[in-house]
Symmetry: C2
Subunit: 404 residues, 2 copies
C-alpha cells in the first residue's frame, strides 16, 4: 500500500443508552459492545450516552490493545456521556457547550442536567499512509423536545464546525442528532457546513430500511413512540466532508438491525451506524464550499430563523408571566409583613389571624417568589440566547444574499 494516496477509514457510531440503574441489561450490553469493537477493529469509535465513567474505564481496559487512544468528555452534573476510541493518536480535544438545552425544571427530560449536551472535536493526525492528513471527528448528542432550542443547537454546532474545520483535512461528524433527515435542523446543519450524509452518499447500504436507527424490531424501543413511523426513524448520523486537498467518499454504510451481529440482544435502544470512508489526496486544493445551492440555503436559513423567532416570542411571554408571578408573591409578602407589624404594634383590634396559617402562607409566598424569580432569570437567558441566534442567522442571510 506504500505510496498509495488513499486511506480507508472505518467509523462506528452508537448511542449506547447506558444509564446506571435505569437502562435495561446495561452491563451485558456494554460488554457486548466492547467485544464487538475489539473483534471488528474499527478506526474510529464514537459513543454517546456512556453515562457512567466506570463503563468507560471498563471499555478502555478492554479496548486498550486495539484502540490505544481514547477520551471521555466530562461536563455537567452527570457528565456528557460522550467518549471516543481511536486507532490513531488523539492530539487535541475541544468541548463546546450549547447555550440552551431544555429547561432545568423539566426533571423528567433530564437533558439540562446532563452537561447540556456537548460535542467534542477530536483532532487526530498521523494516519498512515497519508502522513499529513488531519482528521477532525466531531460528535454530538442533541436531545431536546423543543424545536427552537434544537435549532439553536443545530446552528451552534454548524457554526462551530465552520469555524474549526479549516484546521482539518477531513471532518467526520457522528452522533444522535435527534432529528429526522428532512427536519429543518438537519438541513440547516448540512447546508451551512457542507457536510454530506453518509447514508445518502453510500455506494452500498446494508441494514434497516431507510437507514432507520430507532426501529420497532429492537426489543428495547418503546413502540408507542414509533406509532406514527411504522418503519422506524433515522436520527443517528455519520456526516463527513473534505476540507483541503482531499476527497472523501462513503463506500459502505451499515446499521445493525434490531439485534447485534451474532447475538440475540441489541447493543442499545438505538441501532449502531458503521461507515467505511475512502479518503484520497487530490493534487489540487478544493475550496470549502457550502453544502446546498445558495438559493436553497437561503430558504433553509429563513425557515430556521422563523422557527427561532417563534421560540423567542414564547420565551418572552414566559419571562413576562414569571416576572408577574414574582411581583405578586412579593406584594403578598409585603402585605403580610405590614399585617404582622400592625399586630405587633397592637393596631389590630379583632381576632388575630391564626399564627400557623399566617406562617404557612408567608412560606408559600416566599417559595413562589423564589421559584418565579428563578424562572424569570432562566427565561431571560433563553430570550438573550435565541435573540443572539436570530441575529447571527440574519447576518448569515444578508451575507448569502449579498454574495455575487
Amino acid at each position: 500500500m506504500e505510496g498509495d494516496p488513499t486511506l480507508q477509514l472505518r467509523v462506528f457510531d452508537l448511542n449506547c443508552w447506558a444509564i446506571r440503574y435505569l437502562s435495561k441489561r446495561r452491563q451485558e450490553r456494554v460488554q457486548l459492545i466492547g467485544d464487538t469493537l475489539r473483534r471488528e477493529g474499527f478506526d474510529l469509535v464514537l459513543l454517546q450516552e456512556v453515562w457512567s465513567e466506570q463503563d468507560y474505564s471498563d471499555l478502555k481496559v478492554k479496548l486498550g490493545g486495539c484502540y490505544p487512544f481514547s477520551h471521555y468528555f466530562r461536563s455537567g452534573v452527570i457528565g456528557s456521556g460522550l467518549c471516543v476510541f481511536s486507532r490513531f493518536p488523539i492530539l487535541d480535544t475541544l468541548l463546546y457547550q450549547y447555550s440552551l438545552n431544555g429547561y432545568p425544571y423539566m426533571l423528567q427530560h433530564g437533558d439540562w442536567f446532563c452537561g447540556k449536551c456537548w460535542h467534542g472535536g477530536a483532532g487526530i493526525t498521523a494516519i498512515p499512509p497519508l502522513p499529513s492528513c488531519q482528521l477532525h471527528a466531531e460528535y454530538c448528542r442533541e436531545k431536546d423536545a423543543y424545536l427552537p432550542h434544537r435549532l439553536l443547537q443545530a446552528w451552534e454546532l454548524a457554526q462551530f464546525i465552520r469555524h474549526t474545520s479549516k484546521a482539518a483535512d477531513v471532518v467526520v461528524l457522528g452522533g444522535d442528532l435527534n432529528m429526522h433527515p428532512e427536519d429543518v435542523g438537519i438541513r440547516l446543519l448540512r447546508g451551512w457546513t457542507g457536510l454530506r450524509d453518509a447514508f445518502a452518499e453510500a455506494t452500498r447500504f446494508e441494514g434497516c430500511e431507510d437507514g432507520c436507527t430507532l426501529v420497532p424490531d429492537n426489543c428495547f424501543t418503546v413502540n408507542s413512540e414509533l406509532l406514527p413511523f411504522p418503519l422506524g426513524i433515522r436520527i443517528d448520523y455519520i456526516l463527513y466532508k473534505a476540507v483541503s486537498s482531499f476527497t472523501v467518499k462513503c463506500e459502505e454504510l451499515k446499521t445493525t438491525t434490531g439485534t447485534a451481529p451474532g447475538t440475540d440482544i441489541p447493543f442499545s435502544d438505538h441501532e449502531a451506524v458503521m461507515a467505511t470512508l475512502h479518503i484520497r489526496r487530490q493534487g489540487q486544493a478544493a475550496g470549502d464550499t457550502l453544502g446546498t445551492a445558495e438559493p436553497m440555503l437561503v430558504d433553509v436559513v429563513t425557515e430556521a430563523r422563523t422557527e427561532v423567532g417563534v421560540g423567542l416570542r414564547a420565551a418572552r411571554r414566559q419571562r413576562y408571566s414569571a416576572g408577574r408571578m414574582a411581583v405578586l408573591a412579593l406584594l403578598l409578602l409585603l402585605l403580610q409583613a405590614a399585617a404582622a407589624l400592625g399586630a405587633l404594634a397592637g393596631l389590630a383590634d379583632g381576632q388575630p389571624f391564626p399564627k400557623l396559617s399566617f406562617c404557612l402562607l408567608a412560606f408559600l409566598a416566599l417559595g413562589v417568589l423564589l421559584l418565579a424569580t428563578g424562572l424569570h432569570l432562566f427565561h431571560t437567558m433563553e430570550v438573550k440566547m435565541l435573540q443572539g441566534t436570530e441575529d447571527q442567522m440574519r447576518m448569515a442571510l444578508r451575507a448569502l444574499q449579498e454574495r455575487p
Copy 2:
C-alpha cells in the same frame, strides 16, 4: 497606495464600566467614548462592559457613519456587555461560553449572572488593499476572583483560538483579561496560541508607565485596590498574531492616562488601549508556531495544571461538604416527619412540641436541604469541568514532550 501590500489597522479596546444605576457618570462617559471614536476613526473597536443594550444602540446610531458594521453579543441574564464596531464588514460572529465562571451564590461578584463571560470572534474580510485578508478579532472579558477558574478560562480561550484561527490570516485579541502580564494565565494564553503582546512588541509607546490600564490617577479607580501596586496594574491587552502568509507588527501602542484626551474625566475606570498594527502580505506562508520555546511552554502548562489540580481538590472538598449538609437536613426532615406521624397516631404522651416552632424548623430544614443540594450539584459540575481541563492539559503536555 494601490498595489502596496501593507495595511494599517488601528484597534481601540476599552472596558467601558457602563453599568446602569451603578457606574458613575455613565451617560456622560458613553457619550464621550462615542464622540472620541467618531473623531478618531479607528478600524476596529472592541468594547467590554457595555451592559445596557440602550447604550449600545445609542453608540450604534452615533457611530453609524464612521463604523458601518457592529455587533452586540447577547448572553446570560444581563448580557455579555461585549460589542464590536468596525469599518469593515463583519461576516460572521461566534460565541463561546466559558464552562466555569465563579459561583452563582457569590452575588456580590456578579460574574455568574453576566452571561458567564463570553468572547466573540468576529471574522472580518475584504479589507482593502489586501483583497483576501481575513481577520479574526476576538475579545474577551475574564473576571473572576478564583485562580483555577481563571486558568480554566485562559485555557478554554487559548484552545478556542487555536482551533478557530486556522481560518484567519490575522488574529487580534483585545480585552480585559483581568490578569497581570506575568500571571500564569497570560503566559499560558500567549504560549499556547502564539499570540504576541502589543505592549511588549510596540516600536513606539505612549501612555501610562509600564502600560498600566488600572492607574491611581484615574478618578474612578478604587485606590485601596491598587495599594500593593503604586504605579497601577496592566490587565487590558491587545494581542495579535499572523496565521498564514502575512506578518503583523505593532507600530505604536497608546493608553489613555487617567483622563480622556481633551477632557477632564476618564472614559472609564480602566484606561483605553489603542494599537496601530501593520499587516503585510508575505510571499511565503509561515507555519503556525507556538509562541514560546517548547521547554518553557512545558513549564507553563505544568504550572497551570498544578493550579487547576489545587482547585480540583478544593472543589471536591466543597462538593463533599455540601452533600453531607444535604444528607443531614434530609435526616432532620425525616425525623420530624416521624415525630409528626407519631403525634398524629396519638403515640406521644407528654407535652406536644409547639406547632409553630415545629413548622419553622421543618421549613428551615427544607431550605437547607434545597440549598445544599444546589451547592452539591454546582460543585459536581465544577469538579467535572476542572477535571476535563486537567485532562486536556495532560494530553497537551504529552504531545509537547513527545514532539521530536
